[in-house]
């Protein structure tokens, strides 16, 4: 044992059982059962509904019949339109939408906590703009999907690093400074995207890039799903492992270090993981804005600020919200509306309401 003897000298604690019981009650999460069941139910309803809604509506009875037959008696479904719609078109889309919703919401919540700033999100920090430029470049160069993701991640990380660096340079009000840094970096990267568009072939690549930038899940297939699974899972796992430290970090750099947190490593992990989530989302679906700003605030208003509860909650709510919006995008008109337009249109009033309520969860 290399343990120094001073630690061994400390009086051994003996805790009576009833006191441990008492302590447990005090420290356990106080989120109401109602809220938990509510959130899971909303997600489940959105999930089931997403298989039925669309240009080719499927009734609940047909849905369950087809799903049953798909696993029990695949032969009977030869050439079935329902089977194709459910498993080849809607299933990958629904899963990708949920993953992206969860990813953007979680990235936003993590950025906000780490920068101690209620106003940041993947969009405002420049991560989205950076990832877009990277992905557009890859599209311009006709690179494969994997390279699109790598380019997007590189762009995203560069943009976030730029925003943080500008914030340090300016030494202005730290909350506003970071937002300003993000706006400056976004502007810069958006100009880059415009140059890429200018260079793109106006007959095929330019419309493709433009449409993709508006944000859409219309072309998502199984291959996209497989490709995004690993980076997203990695991002989720890293962030969920840092929830305790995110709580401690919100008390500031010095206090967190004096409580035993390696703040440099934690910040690095959180920034890389959040940016990985944001840029992977951008690489798949283009710019789907506002999720990373709105959902964390909504989740905080429901379950409070403790990241150990908050992060999983943002995943569920983000997934449910984006699924619902994607369903609207599919249904509203005969031509599918790019989802990025819808999330922005819905996000603004949503955010105004949350802001008017004193930013619940921040005070």
């Amino acid at each position: 044992m290399t343990k120094p003897f001073v630690t061994d000298n400390r009086p051994k604690r003996t805790h009576a059982l009833d006191r441990i019981e008492k302590a447990r009650g005090v420290f356990d999460s106080k989120v109401s059962l109602f809220a938990k069941i509510g959130i899971v139910t909303v997600l489940f309803v959105a999930f089931v509904a997403s298989f039925m809604l669309g240009r080719y509506p499927i009734m609940p009875a047909e849905l369950f019949q087809t799903i049953g037959a798909h696993f029990l008696d695949p032969a009977s479904l030869e050439g079935s339109k329902e089977d194709t719609a459910i498993f080849n078109i809607r299933l990958p889309r629904v899963i990708v939408v949920m993953l992206v919703g969860a990813a953007l919401a979680m990235a936003g919540a993590s950025y906000q906590g780490m920068f101690k700033n209620p106003l940041v999100s993947p969009d405002l920090l420049g991560a989205s703009a950076g990832a877009s430029l990277g992905a557009c470049l890859a599209l311009l160069l006709d690179l494969p999907s994997l390279m699109i993701q790598i380019f997007a991640f590189t762009g995203g990380i560069l943009a976030v690093a730029g925003a943080v660096w500008l914030n340090k340079m300016v030494r202005y009000d730290p909350i506003l400074g970071l937002v300003l840094g993000g706006i400056l970096v976004s502007t810069l990267f958006q100009s880059g995207t415009s140059i890429v568009k200018l260079l793109a072939d106006a007959s095929d690549k330019l419309p493709a890039i433009t449409f993709w930038l508006m944000g859409s899940f219309a072309k998502v297939d199984n291959q996209d799903l497989y490709l995004c699974l690993i980076p997203l899972a990695l991002g989720f796992a890293v962030l969920l492992s840092q929830t305790w430290k995110l709580n401690v970090l919100s008390f500031g750099e010095e206090e967190a270090r004096s409580m035993g947190v390696n703040t440099r490593r934690t910040r690095f992990l959180v920034i890389v993981a959040s940016t990985l989530l944001s840029s992977t989302s951008v690489a798949i679906a283009g710019i789907v804005g506002w999720i990373g700003l709105v959902i964390p605030h909504l989740a905080r208003a429901i379950v409070g600020p403790n990241y150990r509860v908050l992060l999983p909650t943002t995943m569920f709510i983000g997934a449910a919200y984006l699924l619902a919006v994607d369903d609207i995008a599919r249904l509203v008109s005969s031509v599918e509306i790019p989802i990025g337009i819808l999330t922005s249109v819905l996000g603004v009033p949503f955010f105004v309401v949350i802001f008017r309520r004193n930013m619940s969860g921040w005070r």
Binding site: P4, I20, A23, N117, K245, G252, E255, P305, G361
Partner: protein, 267 residues
């Protein structure tokens, strides 16, 4: 008083920011259960010295060691089990509950998966009991008064089960009554065996609760002795450059207390 065995040894410590040296050749030792105040004028290096002890600043030369082991070789987690820092109460951006805040003191003990054991919860609860704030457990930290917030931060520090509690002006934003509450709680903690190092601007605070005072002037420790030996008219006039008298008065029949009285020049 602390026992004689030196627990903390600071030897010829030079520290500061970057290349700028602020504290020169600081040397002192501390034992278990000692309550030590550091006094000195603004800018004399008190806070720099504290930050270096806490490991927030790396020493430029010299060493800080606990029980013979240099702290420079310890990581954050290990250091946090020896030193707990009690900052001035300030507002974190999130409305955590008091229970959440106190439990954060277990950070140096929890594993990678951040599983909180019953032991962790029991230690946190005991800290709250010790400071008499267990009834606040479910309240929102950000909505408490300054004095209550300070007690919560002390409970959080105790939850780290440290050997040293380190405080920088912990009472600066508290009213008169709350200052006394906080300082007397700190005093009773030190008699239970936790050593306390406190930077203070108010020599009366040192008189109120310290066993011993380190006096700092321009980055050097110029006095290290029992409180009564350091807090004298001559010393205070010199380090603060103002007219001050230190008197021993009979605060209650049979009870002598030392007080500092600032003097207005033109009276």
């Amino acid at each position: 008083m602390g026992d004689c065995a030196a627990l903390l040894e600071v030897e010829r410590l030079n520290c500061g920011y970057g290349k700028l040296e602020i504290v020169h050749e600081a040397t002192f030792v501390m034992g278990r259960g000692e309550f030590c105040c550091i006094i000195g004028a603004n800018g004399c290096g008190k806070t720099t010295l504290l930050k270096t002890l806490l490991g927030l600043l790396a020493p430029q030369s010299g060493s800080v060691s606990i029980d013979g082991r240099p702290t420079a070789k310890m990581d954050e987690k290990e250091l946090a089990r020896y030193f707990a820092y009690i900052p001035q109460a300030h507002r974190p951006p999130f409305p955590f509950t008091v229970a959440d805040v106190v439990l954060m003191g277990r950070t140096p003990y929890i594993n990678r998966l951040a599983q909180v054991s019953d032991e962790d919860k029991a230690v946190a609860f005991e800290s709250m009991e010790l400071l008499g704030i267990e009834h606040l457990a479910e309240r929102t930290y950000t909505q408490l008064s300054g004095g209550q917030q300070q007690l919560v931060l002390i409970a959080r520090a105790l939850t780290q089960e440290p050997l040293f509690l380190v405080m920088d002006e912990p009472t600066a934003s508290l009213d008169f009554g709350n200052q006394q509450t906080v300082l007397s709680r700190m005093r009773s903690l030190s008699t239970r065996g936790t050593s306390v190092i406190m930077v203070t601007h108010d020599p009366d605070h040192a008189l109120f609760c310290a066993d011993r005072v380190l006096m700092m002037e321009e980055g050097r420790i110029t006095g290290d002795d029992l409180t009564a030996a350091i807090i004298t008219t001559e010393n205070l006039q010199r380090i603060y450059g103002e007219d001050v008298v230190v008197l021993d008065v009979e605060a209650m029949p049979g009870r002598m207390e030392r007080v500092c009285i600032p003097l207005l020049k033109d009276r």
